[in-house]
Amino acid sequence: METLFDYLTYTKGVTYFVAFALMVGFVPFFLFLTERQK
């Protein structure tokens, strides 16, 4: 069973990098989406 602590200390793989890249990538995605909204 995984706990919140397990997630906070999870370092295996590239998950942190992937999650960070996706979060950063969401910013231009949203800006591109809403650029012409007004």
Binding site: G13, L22, F26, E35
Partner: protein, 384 residues
């Protein structure tokens, strides 16, 4: 408005619908008298087939438009989407009703329907939660849909009582939907040895919930496009306003699909499943992830940015197919992936599923051509 509409019984649509449902009635007679083996290709290895993957899993996901739209309008104050709330709630009510019928056909012994509430393995069972939430939510949707009939019948007092419950029902509906949409995914959380690792996840309840929101928004777009085409003489929302609503929903669709895409990619990394992508199953997974999540997300993005309602409606249909594909993958295509024997639905299973959808369309058509679904009743303008 509906008084001026002529209702002819013998039409090509009714004839085809009657033929489909007539054959389905014979199949159902066989299913309930001869058992599952006479009408399905289900086995002990594949106890869940098309009737679960399509009628239940896809049906519940596609009916998510009801709680999504009612929450947007009644809880978040997005009043511009009001014209699509009633059709969305009616679609959800009919969708859930068909889910229950489909489930009964699959399970058999309909008299045991109340068993989950009185004789069950305990409240820790995911199936118990699904049964409880779906049962309660069906009642919530029924009450939320009654103003249509009450306005049509002229029961003003009763309609006023139901209208006063709108916020409470919407909140209850959101809670129940959040619980059972995710619990349907939780059913597969106990199958790590059977479901292919690319589709299996400890967080599959989250995947199911987020994808259901995308399915709900897309289904509202598909249903509103079809109903405004078929009932254009009844719909009072101008096409320009419908286009505005369509474009607005595309923004929601793009954001939800982007979120779903991100969750799926993070899950690939969390489970260290990258190496599976190089296999045949990986190619099939990428078809689903890139073709039916990534692509519609980009198409919604372009449709919203460039104000292209036609593109958005086709994208919505593509998304609906994609969510169905995901539910098929999880419930039987990528299930038991290590077995040599594969499950292919029997034609009778497909026929019954088609008949259920046909039944839903027939009832929707009957209600929408008589009751104030696509227009506001003159005596209750701006009151719901």
């Amino acid at each position: 408005m509906s008084d001026h509409t002529e209702h002819r019984w013998v039409t090509p649509f009714n004839a085809v619908a009657a033929m489909i449902m007539g054959v389905a009635a014979v199949i159902l007679f066989l299913r309930f008298t001869q058992g599952l083996s006479a009408t399905t290709n289900l086995t002990h290895d594949y106890p869940w087939g098309l009737w679960i993957g399509f009628d239940v899993m896809s049906g519940v996901a596609l009916a998510a438009g009801g709680f999504t739209m009612s929450a947007a309008v009644y809880l978040f104050g997005m009043k511009e989407y009001k014209p699509v709330v009633r059709p969305a709630l009616l679609t959800a009510f009919l969708g859930y009703s068909l889910v229950v019928v489909g489930l009964l056909v699959d399970l058999g012994r309909p008299w045991r329907l109340p068993f989950p509430f009185f004789r069950q393995a305990g409240p820790t069972s995911a199936l118990f939660e699904v049964a409880l939430c779906v049962g309660l939510y069906l009642n919530v949707l029924f009450i939320e849909s009654t103003p249509l009939a009450l306005e049509w019948l002229g029961f003003k007092k009763l309609r006023k009582i139901v209208a006063s419950l709108t916020i409470a029902l919407t909140v209850f509906g959101v809670i129940l939907s959040t619980m059972h949409q995710s619990s349907l995914g939780a059913l597969f959380a106990i199958t790590p040895t059977k479901l292919h690792p690319l589709w299996y996840s400890e967080h599959i309840p989250v995947h199911f919930f987020v994808s259901a929101v995308a399915a709900g928004i897309s289904m509202v777009l598909v249903e509103s496009a079809l109903s405004h085409k078929v009932f254009h003489h009844l719909a009072e929302t101008p096409p320009e306003q419908m286009d505005k609503i369509t474009i607005g929903l595309a923004k929601g669709g793009a954001v939800v699909l982007a979120t779903y895409f991100a969750i799926k990619v993070v899950d690939l990394s969390l489970g260290d499943k990258w190496h599976y992508l190089g296999t045949g199953w990986g190619a099939w997974y990428l078809v689903e992830l890139l073709g039916f999540v990534g692509l519609p997300c980009i198409l919604y993005l372009i449709g919203f940015r460039e104000r292209m309602p036609r593109l958005i409606r086709w994208t919505a249909l593509w998304t609906v197919i994609g969510i169905m594909l995901n539910r098929f993958n999880v419930s039987f295509i990528a299930f038991n992936w290590q077995l040599e024997t594969r499950y292919v639905p029997h034609w009778m299973e497909i026929w019954v599923s088609v008949a259920l959808v046909t039944g839903g369309i027939v009832v929707f058509r009957w209600i929408a051509s008589r009751m104030p679904v696509l227009y506001e009743h003159p005596e209750y303008k701006g009151m719901h």
